[in-house]
């Protein structure tokens, strides 16, 4: 099964545009990434620019509204993720525990949904979703 380990760095919600982690933090994280790769569990990973460089689209009243970042009311934002392939949630958690996280950092471990997890009627409706996913690559 696939899990996404989502990194949530506290304070990142207010980080200035262009903020990047320092060399020392990157070095420690690279060692961790390497360990994931050497163990054959890492499928993909990415880091995200801070919300101050992004935007939010909300749909209140059935109408899309755009708000540019940073977002004053938001307490937790995603800083990056790892996609891993493991046998159980416990294994994903054990990998998350090995991350050289800082005092301000939290990793949320979430299982990726597979089509087989849905009942047949939802599978049928979701069939299109995979086509869209494939065509966007």
């Amino acid at each position: 099964m696939r899990f996404m380990m989502i990194m949530i760095p506290k304070g990142y919600e207010q980080a200035k545009p262009g903020t990047v982690p320092d060399a020392k933090a990157v070095e420690a994280m690279m060692k961790y990434n390497e360990a994931l790769q050497k163990a054959g569990v890492l499928l993909a990973l990415d880091g995200l620019h801070p919300p101050s460089m992004g935007a939010r689209v909300s749909f209140a009243g059935g109408k899309p509204t755009v708000t540019d970042g940073p977002f004053a009311e938001t307490k937790e934002v995603v800083g990056g993720y790892w996609m891993i392939q493991v046998k159980s949630k416990e294994e994903a958690v054990q990998w998350a525990m090995r991350c050289p996280g800082g005092d301000n950092e939290v990793i949320e471990v979430r299982q990726v949904q597979e089509l087989a997890d849905f009942p047949p009627d939802v599978q049928k409706a979701a069939g299109k979703f995979e086509e869209i996913k494939a065509s966007t690559r």
């Binding site: 054959g40 499928l43 690559r137």
Partner: protein, 436 residues
Amino acid sequence: MAPSDIHRSIEAVWRIESARLIAALARRVRDVGRAEELAQDALVAALEQWPQTGIPNNPGAWLMATAKHRAIDQLRHRSLTERKHQQIGYELERQQAAFDLESDLDDDIGDDLLRLMFTACHPVLAPETRVALTLRLLGGLSTEEIARAFLVPEPTMAQRIVRAKRTLSQAQVPFEIPQGEQLSGRLASVLQVIYLVFNEGYAATAGEDWARPALCEDALRLGRILAELAPNEPEVHGLVALMEIQASRLRARTDTAGNPVLLLDQNRARWDQLLVHRGLAALERAARLNGARPPAFARFAIAPGPYVLQAEIAACHARALTAAETDWQRIAALYAALAVLTPSPIIELNRAVAVGMATGPAAGLEIVDQLVAESSLRDYHLLPTVRANLLEKLGRYQEALTELERAAGLTTNVREQQLLRGRIDEIVGQLTSRGG
């Protein structure tokens, strides 16, 4: 934490740490069987203690320290009972030194893991035994899991593993990475074992499942590990590419009722694009190592090996957005190259399919008909299956039906039988509606 939860967490720790633990122990005690037993002892200790104490901060180091104490205790005990003080005393000192020199698992143990892989896949063992031992020592699978995966009773599998460890010990197989001329043959054995695991998952040879994806995942994990241990071997990346691309189709290979769907009929939108992407990247890595350069420099390139060629074939399908866009000419040429490298009637059969698509069914049938006489394919269900397909395209329906009946009688996989029966009904239906 509830007892079952901590149990699952310990299993997870074992899956992450066991191969490294066994590899590090094997270098110190110079016996893979003994190393595995010491690691198992450490696991038993963890299962006893961790539910009370909680999982330690560095579980790998805890397991290593426990295994080390156990190893030294055993040697002390032997020196008392066997009265060979001097010899065992020396051995004790040597091992203690070996343990003390590098007492934790943090150092780079890549070479130990590679040694462990070569040892588990040693030619002194039968191929099926290599598979079991590799899953056990490097995949972190329990004997029960391996037995279930290969539909063998657990005691049989346990015996197979015990005998394998004894064979390695008696043959005094050194814990080393083969050098020079030996290397390519031994590496081929490792690749073969990993691909055997994958194939048993991908095309279950018996039973009711069309595939057992967990085995594919185990094989992929082993392949990805090997790719980091031996990054300069193009064939390793070729195998990984082949497995990634084939695995990308796993969920498209069955419909919602669990019936098999053949490659050309699959909904390509269901192919896992992340795995396709990884597969193509691995293939590029192999190509770079093989020295693939612009055509002007082609004479410097090393000829690709069998796994790279097979991955190239898989990539031809992966790159085609629709079945109709498949580059069958290239696939036929790749099979021809593969046939030169590893001549086999099965490759020839696949070439016949590709030629049938690229040039026409008559050209394909010509190749297949030469294979009919081949005794090694007499009981191989795909020969009559392929022949039936070509005959059908040529409008020779009665002959096609005979071949499909034969194929259905030859396969032991229930799902595959259903697929063949379905095709028979289809052709019969067409013939009836046409009034002939």
